[in-house]
């Protein structure tokens, strides 16, 4: 049987506010246990929450970015359950009236196609603390530093049809929230967490299959693997005549499998009700205007503009707008060299490779965008060849200065003097009589390929500095045939 996969994601993004969502404690990561927990975060009797305005602004920016409806009036609700790292015995979240309503994002697929994924809603809530099971001799330690950290939970429609699509969507959300600066996107520190709802159904059937929820996924790679594992598990069960149990499953990256955590029967009744300690959030035009005034050009708009203005493919434009820093860098290179296509090739090729190798982000790139643009300008004005440019780039990366300086210092300026090139060409022809013979006797259709040998020899003799177009032309003339 042919199966169709249905995936929806719930993404928890930690908002990059300085203080917590309902208290003034710091949200900085990595402090000693319980040193960033105030009376409110500890759930002390008599304490009350006060909403962090900045968290609301960030949610509003996100709503604008995905073209979502903004809840004119949103309400905080209590989600009641007992757990030691949940100090109040309830989590303040939003239930019936979330701050961000229906919106959508576009994802670019491997085949360069574009797909729209619906965002059902996004709501503000507080994070819980952490339970520490090591070092306590059979007891559990509680660290409430994280308790009360603001989260925006972004819930998608079940629109994804493969693990790859799910990852593309997750990356898209990651791109948007980091682009807006409302989340640092750090998956290792838990600032960006994905839960996946996965089900399968016979292809062509309307009715959704029973879903499972996958948790504990802290990288895009694991997201893809966890979903692929789960799809296979579900199909195996169904093909063996079994049925899927609605449950929460944890992904174990070491074993690359998902394991049952709790079934629906064991699930809590959260007894949601509006939190009487907090007033409904009513957004007026002035607030929205203020929150979104300084919003940057959004990734999709920028991607479209790159396609249009720079003549890039959807795939290239998408790659170049992966982060705001990347897009800014690219445009600065274009501005400096004037050739969008060449700039795209270099930013996605040589530069990306070097950054990858060095393990650093484009923000920390040792070659500033105008400098890279300056290098490309030297290719364009025939001062150097593309091949020599790679050498120059390496030197620039190593801190030897800008392109002109490196070209000068290393004597890499291209040889365009016809006489000098002719001398080199003559030398090569003289030194390789057999190859010349073969060439002249060959089928003319095969000759363009065979000429590569002579070009290579000439370039080698010129230490790569001869102008390849001139070398080519001269060789064809001299070899004749």
């Amino acid at each position: 049987m042919q199966w169709e996969v249905v995936i929806g994601l719930e993404i928890h993004t930690q908002l990059a506010t300085r203080s917590k969502i309902f208290s003034g404690s710091s949200t900085a990561f990595g402090a000693g246990p319980n040193t960033q927990a105030s009376l409110i975060d500890l759930g002390m009797p008599g304490t009350l929450p006060v909403l962090n305005r900045r968290a609301v602004e960030y949610a509003v920016r996100f709503a604008k970015a995905i073209g979502a409806e903004l809840g004119e009036r949103s309400v905080f609700a209590r989600k009641n359950y007992f757990y030691p790292d949940l100090p109040k015995g309830y989590q303040i979240s939003q239930f019936e009236l979330p701050i961000v309503g229906r919106g959508q994002v576009e994802i670019v697929l491997d085949d360069d196609g574009v797909k729209t994924v619906g965002v059902t809603r996004a709501h503000l809530e507080e994070d819980a603390g952490k339970s520490l099971h090591e070092d306590f001799h059979g007891m559990t330690g509680i660290d409430l530093n994280r308790a009360g950290t603001p989260l925006l939970e972004i819930v998608s429609e079940p629109d994804m049809r493969s693990a790859k699509e799910a990852v593309a969507y997750a990356r898209k959300i990651h791109q948007i929230v980091t682009w807006l600066g409302i989340c640092d996107g750090n998956m290792q520190e838990g600032s960006f967490r994905c839960d996946a709802n996965v089900s399968v159904r016979p292809l062509g059937k309307e009715k959704l299959g029973t879903r499972t929820e996958l948790k504990n996924i802290n990288s895009f790679r694991f997201l893809e693997r966890a979903i692929d594992y789960e799809i296979e598990r579900q199909i195996d069960i169904l093909e063996d005549g079994g049925r899927i149990v609605q449950e929460t499953r944890l992904y174990d990256a070491e074993r690359d499998e998902t394991r049952s955590m709790r079934s629906k029967e064991e699930a809590n009744d959260y007894r949601y009700f509006p939190d009487p300690d907090l007033l409904p959030v009513v957004l007026d035009e002035a607030f929205i205007e203020e929150a979104t005034r300084d919003m940057p050009e959004l990734p999709d708009a920028r991607r479209a503009r790159f396609q249009e203005q720079h003549g890039l493919s959807a795939y290239d434009a998408n790659a170049l707008t992966a982060t705001r820093a990347q897009a800014n860098y690219y445009e600065a290179v274009v501005a400096a060299c004037g050739d969008a296509k060449l700039a795209a090739n270099w930013v996605m090729g040589e530069l990306a490779g070097a950054l990858n190798k060095a393990g650093c982000g484009i923000e920390d790139c040792p070659v500033p965008a105008p400098a890279l643009g300056g290098l490309l300008a030297r290719i364009l004005d025939d001062t150097i060849s593309g091949k020599i440019a790679k050498q120059v780039f390496e030197a620039m990366w190593a801190g030897e200065g800008d392109a002109d300086r490196v070209i000068d210092a290393r004597g890499l300026k291209q040889i365009t003097d016809a006489g000098a090139i002719e001398a080199l060409v003559d030398e090569v022809i003289a030194a390789n009589p057999q190859q010349v013979e073969n060439y002249r006797n060959a089928d003319p259709a095969k000759r363009p390929k065979m000429i590569g040998f002579f070009v290579g020899q000439v370039m080698k003799k010129s230490q790569g500095k001869a102008n390849p177009q001139q070398v080519n032309a001269l060789l064809r003339e001299k070899l004749g045939g």
């Binding site: 009376l39 500890l42 759930g43 002390m44 009797p45 008599g46 304490t47 009350l48 929450p49 006060v50 909403l51 209590r78 009641n80 007992f82 030691p84 100090p87 109040k88 015995g89 309830y90 509680i142 009744d269 007894r271 949601y272 009700f273 009487p276 300690d277 907090l278 007033l279």
Partner: protein, 484 residues
Amino acid sequence: MHHKTLAELSAGLAAGEFSSVELTRHFLERIRAHDERLNSFITVTEEQALAAAEAVDARRAAGEAGPLTGIPLAHKDIFCTLDVRTSCGSRMLDNFVSPYDATVVERLAAAGMVMLGKTNMDEFAMGSSNETSCYGPVHNPWDTERVPGGSSGGSAAAVAARLTPVATGTDTGGSIRQPAALTGITGLKPTYGRCSRWGMIAFASSLDQAGPMARTAEDCALLLSGMAGFDPRDSTSAERPVDDYLAALDRPLDGLKVGLVREFMAQDGLHSGVAAATEAVLEELKRQGAEVVEVSLPHAHLSVPAYYVVAPAECSSNLSRFDGVRFGPRCEDPKDLEDLYKRSRSEGFGAEVKRRILIGAYALSAGYYDAYYLKAQQVRQLIAQDFRVAFEQVDLIVSPTTPDVAFPLGAKTDDPVAMYLQDIYTIAVNLAGLPAISIPAPAADGLPTGFQMIGNHFDEACLLNVAHRLQQATDWHRHAPEGF
């Protein structure tokens, strides 16, 4: 000295007739001498009180004194007090020493008031007789075999017995007004949002409100002036200036329109003596130029059932933090997490608290939410609407505070519904978020009765004004229980 009102004591302090230390000593001695019979205090903070009194005497000497400076008071043990046990009348918090002050406590201390101690109360403010406290019941100074009402029964009894000039209380469904009525004192529940709830241990967050308990309306006005005001730490606190309650006290009542709640006077179980007391107060109002008409609150009969869904629902969630993890007692040798929760909470909470947690959890549970919680919230809207309509016709709505006088200890402990009906006249006010005051009316069967006046939102000044005018012309509030 203890028969003087706050206003009189304030004048005495200002005139140098006595110091705050002397005053504080005097009341501490009275507590020592009399509270054994009443059990109105859970904690007496003698040392801190004397130290604070000394400090405020020094402040006065330096020329920094306001009307509250140097006056002793007692706080209901629901208000968090820095470095002092804050028990809420519960075994669950018997060992809880608060790391901070409630806003109300902080403000009154800043005004120079001296805390004598923390008063007894129904456990987590759940009760109408002060019998659910884990520290034992409070006795009514008018008849120690009877209850003082609740949940602010300790504050009420202490003020009535002159163990403190004034006290703070909280009112969720009548917890200031009902005990005030049953002990013959004056108690005001302000508009929801008028006093900060920061540091006030929550029972039902959308209904809880702190207020003053004193012997006169004037004293309530003085104390409320020190308590009220916007607090950025409480999102539900009202961001509007506090009226000058004192300036409004003497306004004449000519032309005041007063609405007597028809349904309340026709209520089954209304004690004839209480009804007669209400009539007597109405006569006085008319004598002073007020016009008395009848008003109707057609949905008021639904207020008790609606309240007993909303309040327990909120309490079931508010009390989840008492889990034996971070504060309060933890059961011995828990075998696992669930056992820790179950036993710590079973051992820590008393029967009435457990009953309300169960009711509340049920009302909020999946499948019942719409039928109970949502329906109760709709009823609440209807009740608020009733009041809105009534306030289009009158300035003030009045009724008895309670249907009966203080009942004997133990009389209603086995009948929770009979106990809940104690608050039949007071609860609607909380559901609508309105301010209301209870003042002493003529006694019935030799016991105090209360007259309730309900004002429009944030019109505490009107309530205090009318109450003060009545008290200027009558002596119902001047009677003291014998033997105290």
